[in-house]
Structures are given as C-alpha cells and as structure tokens.
Amino acid sequence: MEKFTTHTGLVVPLDIANVDTDQIIPKQFLQKTERVGFGKHLFHDSRYLDHSGNEPNPEFILNKPEYKEASILLARENFGCGSSREHAPWALEEYGFKVVIAPSFADIFYGNCINIGLLPIKLSEDEIEQLFNQADGAKLNLTVDLANNTVSYGEVSFTFELGQFHKYCLEEGVDSVGWTLNKLDTIKTFEANMPAWQ
C-alpha cells in the first residue's frame, strides 16, 4: 500500500445521497480474478449511455471536461452502502481518486477504503454543504493533510477525525497482514484457551 501524506487535487461534486456500491461498480464487472481493470467501469450505468461503455453520458459529472483531472470525490450521506465488494474502492482508486469526502459512509465501504489506502474523510453536513457550494464549475482545489487531519482551501480549513491505527497504516503504508502476523504468539495463546466447541 502506498503511503499517504498530503494530497492536493481538484474536487468533483457528486450530489446524490445513498450511492451504493452497485452504482459505483455494477456486478457484471466483478468477474475478474485480478485487482486491475475496474476504473474504466466506475459508475458505469450513470457514466455511459450504452451497455458496453462506448458512449459517455455527457450529463454525468465525471464526463464533464472541466472535472477530468479530479482526484477528490465529494459525496453525500451514506456513501458506499450495500454490497461489501472491495471492487468499489478499487474502481475509485484506479480511476484516479485519492480521497472521498462525505458526511457519512457505510461501515464496510469505509473499512475497505482504509485497507487499500483510499482516504475516506467524514465532515459535518455544514462543511459538506460549504464544499458543494464551492465545487461548482470545477473551481475547488483542496489540500488534505493527513498528519494534521485537515482539509483546506484558501483560508478555510476543516478538521476530520480518523482512528489512530487507521491513520498510522495510511501514513506508513503498513502491510496490515504482516503487522498481525507479528502477533502470532498472542493469537496462539488465545486459541489455546478456546472452548472445545468453538
């Protein structure tokens, strides 16, 4: 996992609540055994007018030329609800997003983002509203500073919360499996004390 320190990028506002992971990456694109090839299918049904994905929908915000370089997705409440498919954060990451900002996320999606190094940031409804007001016309560039837990533009700065260990893993690009494997003795002690039926 790549280390995350700071990121400055263009914000694309997706003004829809309850965006589920079926919308982020529809099921027909999950039939892969590799971890690549999902970015081009991100938001497929909204992004393309046809089934095969050759005709971009000019109305969909990601297709507007001014947002082409966006790397920060601004979203509404309950983003990433539904299916636990990690393919959704994979698709967002492969498309070029480094950060997703929303007032709330579905739990599994939030954890999946952390695990792959895509930073999910929760801000208050008021702060989100302010960002939506600024983001119109591709005019909003935000700087995310993970060390200081801040999101800022111009003179404005918002603080976000992130679990201590989550932050550490993102900052250091920790191999979380390797980290836990270092605790094998503790796990074995736990196993030795489990009841027979377990």
Binding site: Q28, R35, N78, C81, G82, E86, A106, D107, I108, N115
Partner: protein, 475 residues
C-alpha cells in the same frame, strides 16, 4: 439518564469480549474469527496476495468455500454462466485445492448460497464470529453469532491470521412487541423495521432484535430478519440464542456432538444480553401494526404497506428524502398516489439468501395451491422463477412435491444459486422490467440496468406471479 451497571453487558459486548485477542493503545482491536465462508467473486484477489507474500492459510479447516454468486441456475456445468464466471469458479477450485480448503463445488450435495449452506450444515454456531466477503453475512446473527460482511483485503487478513481488526460498534436494540397478525412474514417484519429507521438508520451499530414477535420466529425466519440488517446500515444483526436455536443446531453435520454439544449449549445460554444492559439506541415496534410490505423506491427504506399508496415527495420534510423520492419515482416509473395493489409486474423472483429456504418455498407453494385450486396459474404476461437456496433445500422441496406445485402453476423451477438477486449470471432483468422479488436490494440497476425491483415476501411474490400485481392477501 440511565445509570449503567458496569458489569451488565449486551450480547454484542459478550461476543466482543470472548473474541478479543488483543486490545492495545494505538491499534484497532484484534478479534478472533471462528468461521470464514468464501465464494468465487470476492476471494481470488485475496488468494493472489497470499501467493505473492508466500503466506499459507493459517486454519484452512475454519474456512469453507461454496460456488454461489455467478453460477448458472439452468446447468451445473462450470462454463454455463460465461467465461468470466467460469474463470472465477475454476480459480476457486484451484485456490481451495492449493490451500487445503473444503469446497462445495458445482452440483455437490452441500453446495448453496453461503448464508443458506452455513446454517443448514451446522457451520453456523451461536457464540462465534463468522465472516464472509458478502454483506449479507449478517444472516448468521440469527444464531447469536457475530456475523458480518468483509472486503477482500479482510478476506486475506482472515486467511493469513484467522483474526480481524475491528472498531467497536454502538449497540441498538430493536424490540418488536406482541405478535404479528395472520399471514405476516419475517420479511414483512424486517421491511417494516427498515421503513421505520430509514436505509442508513443503523450505520455504526450492531442491532439486537428482540421481543415476543422475534422470539416466536423459527430459525429460518430469524435468518430472514438478520439477513437484511445491512439494508439499514447495521454492521450486524443478532437474535439471542434460545431453545429454538439449540434444537435447530443439534445433529447438524458440522455441529458439535455429545458432551461437547452440551457444554456448548450451556455456554450459549449465557450469551443473551443482561437484563439491565444499556443500549446506545432503542427502537420499539408493535407487531400487530405490521402489515404486508412492498418497496416502492430504490432503497429498502422506501417501503410501504400493501394497502397503501405510492407516496408523494410532499410526504417528506427532509430535503434529501424528498429528493430521493423524486428520483426513485422517476426511476421506478411510478406516480404518487397509485395504490400498491394496482402496480403490475412482469417478472417474479423467489430466491436469494433472504428468502430461499424450505419454509419460504413452502409458504410460496401454499399461496400457489390456493390459486391453482381456483383454476388460476402464472399470468401469461409474467415470467416467474423459483431458485432454491441450496441443493439441500432443493432436495427437500422436491421430496415434498413443491417443485411440482410450482411447475404446474407455470413457475420455472431452477438450480440453486444467488441468481437474480444480483444478476451476475444470466438471470438478469431487462430495461423497464418490473419484478416482485424476495431478495434484499431494490437499488437502481441491481437486477439489471434500467430494471425495477419491488422487494416482498415469498407469499406476496407468489400471489403477484399469478395475479400479475401486488395483492393484499389478508383483505
């Protein structure tokens, strides 16, 4: 403000404590995972990473694999559902062989949807932590197991360590008081709950369902309730294990036997929340007020009683709900004020990890029998399929002659799998199709691009197939 007795714990807190391997300052707590269910879609990348790091599966005997998500329901041939599906199914076969994991592959007598197969084999036990790369893992909470869906990175973590890092959730108690009326199913109970909380009402919580109406449910009905916990954002759903639970588990193929089983039951009896345990949130419903439910929108919280009408955006004061209603009505091609019983469907799907167990099929068959006795069968304008949740369910249903009842009435009797719930195989709705579905998600495009899903009980789906529209079976 209630004063909490610090020694009083909720069931979730007991499950948490009994699985806490390590809690260390600066690290997310580490929990032990007892049982890991895997399938072809969310596991291949996890196996690939194990290979990359040259790591084994630590406890292959604690993982069980099944083929369910993208298999054909017309043929047991691995190639029957297309090249992409076949690649994933073959990868699962190879991965299970290489890493020593038991697999229930195509046509195996134990094959089925992970959340149908686990409970019926006794792989699902009270007092355990069960995970699967699938959000409907919450189903197993019906046994008093802490069960939740995980992403592929977490699948890899469980493979390599048999543990997971988890942030502690808040606790919510949902009490359904009294008894439901005649003909009201578990599906109606959970849809009514989600209608009350909204589709994100339990985000950040583990929910415990309780009250007389929940205690009265069979294990399969409890599974239907817990299955949809994720549909209002809950991390997991739980029902306290009781005699109904122990009787169900006893004698199942993988369940503990003899003295070990007796010891287990004695431990499981201690799992229920302490009487004075304090929950972060409490919601109460009166069972007698719950009617048969039908979703009208594009998330499971957009649901109403069958005797109601499609709501208008004006019914919602919250601007986001109002906006969601406007876009849902447009997508669903519905007009506010339309009676639910006037909505016609052209497709019916009875199946999925929510409603594909034997009791679901019996309930649907009973409705069908009532209509066929009057000389009615599936409307000529409707395509209706029945997809049992597992080969065991299929065999049981066939031994009871349910397949004949369905086939004679014009339903298609299919092979087990996830099927049209998510349409990863060829069981997909076309643009503009309107489906009465016993599955769990009515998201835009879920069952096929441009398709329209109404979530209902098996009884309602059966009635809709025959009449061509939703029916208030109790009127």
């Amino acid at each position: 403000m209630t004063t909490a007795n610090t020694s009083s714990l909720t069931m979730y807190e007991k499950l948490w404590q009994s699985h806490l391997v390590e809690e260390k300052a600066g690290e997310t707590p580490l929990l032990y995972v007892d049982r890991h269910l895997i399938h072809e879609v969310t596991s291949p990348q996890a196996f690939a990473n194990l290979r990359f790091h040259n790591r084994p599966v630590r406890h292959p005997e604690r993982t069980i694999a099944t083929m369910d998500h993208n298999i054909s329901t017309r043929s047991i041939e691995i190639d029957a559902a297309g090249e992409g599906a076949a690649n994933q199914l073959r990868a699962l076969e190879k991965n299970c062989k290489d890493f020593g994991i038991e697999l229930f592959g195509m046509g195996h007598k134990n094959q089925g949807i992970a959340h149908v197969m686990g409970p019926e084999l006794g792989l699902t036990l009270p007092g355990t932590i069960i995970v699967c790369g699938d959000s409907h893992t919450a189903t197993h909470g019906a046994f008093g197991a802490l069960a939740f869906g995980i992403g592929t990175s977490e699948v890899e973590h469980v493979f390599a360590t048999q543990t997971l890092r988890q942030t502690k959730a808040k606790t919510m108690k949902i009490e359904v008081k009294g008894h439901v009326g005649k003909g009201i199913s578990a599906k109606d109970i959970i849809l009514a709950i989600i209608g009350k909380t909204g589709s994100a009402g339990a985000t950040g919580y583990v929910v415990e369902y309780c009250g007389e109406a929940i205690e009265a449910l069979s294990m399969e009905e409890r599974m239907t309730v817990c299955n949809m916990s994720i549909e209002f954002g809950a991390k997991a759903g739980l029902v306290a294990p009781d005699q109904t639970t122990f009787d169900y588990v006893e004698g199942k193929e993988y369940a503990p036997k003899g003295e070990v089983f007796q010891q287990a039951v004695s431990d499981w009896k201690k799992l229920k929340s302490d009487d004075d345990a304090v929950f972060d949130s409490v919601i109460t419903l009166e069972a007698k007020n719950i009617k048969a439910q039908v979703t009208w929108g594009t998330n499971p919280g957009q649901v109403i009683s069958v005797d109601g009408c499609v709501p208008s955006p004006d019914n919602f004061s919250d601007p986001i709900e109002k906006e969601s209603c406007i876009s849902a009505l447009a997508y669903m091609d519905l007009t506010a004020g339309t009676k639910i019983t006037d909505i016609s469907v052209n497709k019916v799907f009875i199946g999925s990890c929510t409603n594909s167990r034997i009791e679901d099929l019996r309930a649907a068959a009973n409705v069908v029998k009532d209509y066929t006795a009057k000389g009615q069968s599936v409307q000529s304008t409707v395509d209706a399929i029945i997809v049992p949740g597992s080969y065991r369910v299929k065999a049981q249903a066939e031994s009871e002659g349910l397949d004949k009842i369905f086939s004679k009435a014009g339903f298609e009797w299919r092979l087990p799998g996830c099927s049209m719930c998510l349409g990863m195989n060829d069981d997909v709705l076309g643009e503009g199709d309107r489906c009465a579905s016993t599955s769990n998600r009515n998201f835009e495009g879920r069952q096929g691009r441009g398709s329209r899903t109404h979530l209902v009980s098996p009884e309602m789906a059966a009635a809709a197939a025959i009449t061509g529209h939703f029916v208030d079976l109790n009127s």
